[in-house]
């Protein structure tokens, strides 16, 4: 039991940066814009948070700064993809390259420095609930924020008019346009949401999870988040499941190694998260077909009025 509780708590911690980035990307893609710049956005978020925390010691300011920088980077992508109607895939890839480069460039003086980290704030009373307490209520504010934001964004996406607008823009922008929805504005907002959350996801890494700055410290999490977006079938609730599942399986394979299982062929064990992801998707696919949930039809297509 202790093993499971500890593993789940660990999974939530490991999954939080993924969750933030994934939910943000869900919004972007729901409106029809694929943002492959997530890796660059996350690492810039990590750098910014660390830089501000190091300079000012103010963690809240660091988080806000990371969110703003994420938004700015995603704004470039939005401008290229929405206004200029450029190819979204390459624009996103360019942003990733750019973000990785700029973060390394600006981060040079920060190597080996210590910044103020975000402390964990367990919720009084709730943290003492057996099982659920240590898992859900003993973390830091970003963990709580990520869960709340996911729930709120789910609600907005599926239960409000704005959410409906987003979805219609992503499925059939010309119809949405004819019904009076401002396609471009909606897309801009969604991409910016993606940038804000991506920046915060990166910030989590550098001032909470492994509080330091090292070049390239996101180690591909942006790409994992993009994969998780698909896994989550573009639904923020499923994203919670996906992020924690992925984080959990990564943690699990280390736990298994630690207790001596599978260490003779650890590479096979390391493949586990990827197999699980594919396997779950395959299992879900038949359900998907039935419910006709799928890719937003207009994902990746620039919208041109009169098309």
């Amino acid at each position: 039991m202790g093993f499971a509780v500890s593993l789940l708590a660990h999974a939530i911690q490991a999954g939080t940066p993924l969750l933030l980035a994934t939910v943000g990307e869900i919004y972007s893609e729901r409106s029809g814009v694929l943002n492959l710049g997530l890796e660059g956005i996350m690492i810039m978020g990590a750098l910014t948070a660390f830089l501000v925390s190091f300079r000012t010691g103010d963690v809240a300011l660091a988080l806000v700064a990371a969110a703003i920088v994420g938004a700015l980077l995603s704004l470039i992508h939005a401008f290229l993809s929405i206004t200029l109607k450029a190819n979204q895939i390459v624009s996103g890839l360019a942003i990733s390259i750019f973000g990785l480069g700029v973060s390394g460039f600006l981060g040079r003086p920060l190597i080996g420095q210590i910044a103020t980290k975000l402390q964990s704030t367990p919720i009084p009373l709730l943290q003492d609930i057996p099982v659920l307490g240590p898992i859900l209520f003993s973390g830091d504010v970003l963990i709580y924020f990520s869960i709340i934001v996911s729930l709120v964004l789910w609600f907005v996406l599926f239960r409000t008019k704005f959410g409906l607008n987003i979805r219609s823009v992503g499925e059939n922008p010309s119809m949405a346009d004819s019904l009076g929805v401002n396609v471009d504005l909606t897309r801009y907002v969604c991409v910016l949401v993606g940038g804000v959350l991506g920046g915060l996801g990166g910030a989590y890494l550098s001032i909470v999870y492994t509080p330091l700055w090292i070049e390239g410290m996101t180690a591909g999490r942006g790409w994992i988040a993009i994969a998780l977006t698909i896994f989550a079938v573009w639904n923020p609730l499923r994203a919670i499941l996906g992020a924690y599942l992925f984080g959990g399986v990564v943690a699990l394979q280390f736990r298994l190694q630690a207790i001596g299982i599978g260490t003779e062929t650890p590479q096979l064990l390391l493949m586990l998260p990827y197999f699980v992801t594919i396997g779950t998707l395959v299992l879900m696919s038949s359900a998907t077909l039935k419910k006709r949930i799928g890719v937003p039809a207009a994902l990746g297509n620039p919208y041109v009025r009169g098309e």
Partner: protein, 427 residues
């Protein structure tokens, strides 16, 4: 509609490619032309040069090929610190370096450095072994040094800083401080280098506590703070490990240990490559620190003096010690291993400091501090070798007989775990 698009695409495709080539050409030409116009208009030579006895002083240009970014605060950071050390210390030296060079792409940067006038290129990752040898063949009049490899040729030497002795000393500290009798090791890859680190660590811990055990987790990455954290937490939570050692490029393991200390649970860890005390002030016991600069100084000085040979400069505690430290042969029980080091004029205890211990935590009880220091001094004099038999592997086979010391090849090809490691070594 679709046909029109295709046609447009076809037309625009050609234009784009033409435009790209044209654009790059124009842009480049513009740069070049600009360069010409701003270059000095001819070099005015002073005809009357005061030729004194000395010809213009010889300078050496050294190129460094790094496998990662200098900003990794780990392996590459340490090498670059070494480079900066020699740049600042040696007046006749110029350096260049290339970061994040993929192992399959090393030939290009090496050749570029040679083309730009490098006399020696040092490649700092095992994966550069074959490209370095090949480069040696392409440029037979230049010198190459490869770090952590085993292939040499007439103009390629090897060098390495060895940590297993320091890991033994860390093990002593671990054995002294562990209350649960369980340790954890976060390992990058199951290469012989890492395996000897792990083994030495456990041997050291067992000198203090013969019942202590260490579980090993492999990351399959040299550098990944996130995964390292996951692995470290797993070892603490699942195995009740209260001392964590590691071979990985970031201070994360130490940070995790500190995190637990802050929560009131004593977990200990170490520095790796550089002094990382500030990442875990309470949790930091000691650690293995490397000063590549001293080794670079040695190598480059030999090149400058014309005495460079394609040897293996394998810096351990005790190798290449100035004679005032080393006991006479008759009193030493050391077996000659590794390369040979000459003493350069004016040099004393050169190698003492290439690899050394990070500061010891005052929390270590005095008797164990004394033990650690004593073993360290003994290793300097080559009186003590951690891999001295009787040593059995984790399956009970005898690997080293009583009194037998591991040879260079034993150490370099180590692919078995010692007793006290329940984790089965990946085969």
């Amino acid at each position: 509609m679709t046909e029109k698009k295709t046609e447009e695409q076809n037309v625009s495709r050609r234009k784009f490619i033409t435009g790209t080539i044209g654009g790059l050409a124009v842009g480049a030409l513009a740069g070049y032309a600009g360069g010409i116009s701003t270059a000095p208009a001819g070099i005015t030579r002073e005809v009357t040069t005061t030729t004194t006895a000395a010809a213009p002083a010889k300078r050496i240009k050294a190129g460094f090929i790094y496998v990662g970014p200098v900003g990794d605060f780990g392996w590459t950071f340490g090498h670059d610190r070494g480079r900066k050390y020699v740049v600042q210390k040696i007046p006749w030296l110029d350096t260049v370096y290339a970061e994040s060079v993929a192992e399959a792409e090393a030939a290009g940067p090496i050749d570029k450095m040679i083309a730009d006038g490098a006399d020696i290129v040092l490649t700092t990752s095992f994966g550069f072994m074959d490209p370095t040898i090949a480069a040696g063949e392409r440029h037979p009049d230049k010198t190459f040094m490869h770090c952590s490899g085993y292939k040499r040729s007439k103009n390629v030497g090897t060098y390495f800083a060895e940590f297993y002795q320091l890991y033994y000393l860390c093990g002593l500290a671990a054995g002294a401080m562990s209350k649960t009798g369980k340790m954890g090791y976060v390992a990058a890859y199951p290469t012989p280098e890492v395996v000897r680190h792990i083994n030495a660590f456990v041997l050291g811990a067992r000198e203090v506590n013969p019942k202590i055990e260490a579980s090993v987790v492999f990351l399959f990455s040299w550098f990944d703070p996130g995964k390292t954290r996951d692995a470290a937490v797993s070892l603490i939570e699942s195995n009740n490990a209260d001392v964590l050692a590691y071979t990985e490029d970031s201070p994360t393991t130490l940070q995790v240990a500190q995190e637990y200390q802050d929560k009131g649970k004593p977990v200990w860890s170490f520095s790796h490559y550089s002094d990382m005390t500030k990442y875990g002030p309470k949790a930091h016991l000691t650690g293995q620190v490397v000063e590549w600069g001293l080794l670079y100084e040695y190598i480059l000085s030999k090149l400058y003096a014309g005495t460079w040979r394609p040897e293996d400069s394998w810096a351990r505690i005790g190798d290449g010690m100035g004679y005032k430290w080393k006991l006479p042969e008759a009193k030493s029980t050391a077996e000659a291993v590794g390369g040979t080091f000459e003493t350069l004029p004016g040099q004393t205890d050169f190698y003492d400091n290439v690899v050394h211990l990070a500061p010891l935590n005052p929390a270590i009880p005095d008797q164990y501090r004394a033990l650690i220091v004593r073993r360290y001094e003994e290793m300097k004099e080559m009186l003590f070798e951690p891999f001295t038999g009787p040593i059995k592997d984790q399956d009970g086979n005898v690997k080293l007989q009583a009194g037998q010391r591991a040879t260079h090849d034993d150490l370099w090809g180590m692919d078995w775990f010692v007793e006290g490691i329940p984790t089965k070594i990946p085969k």
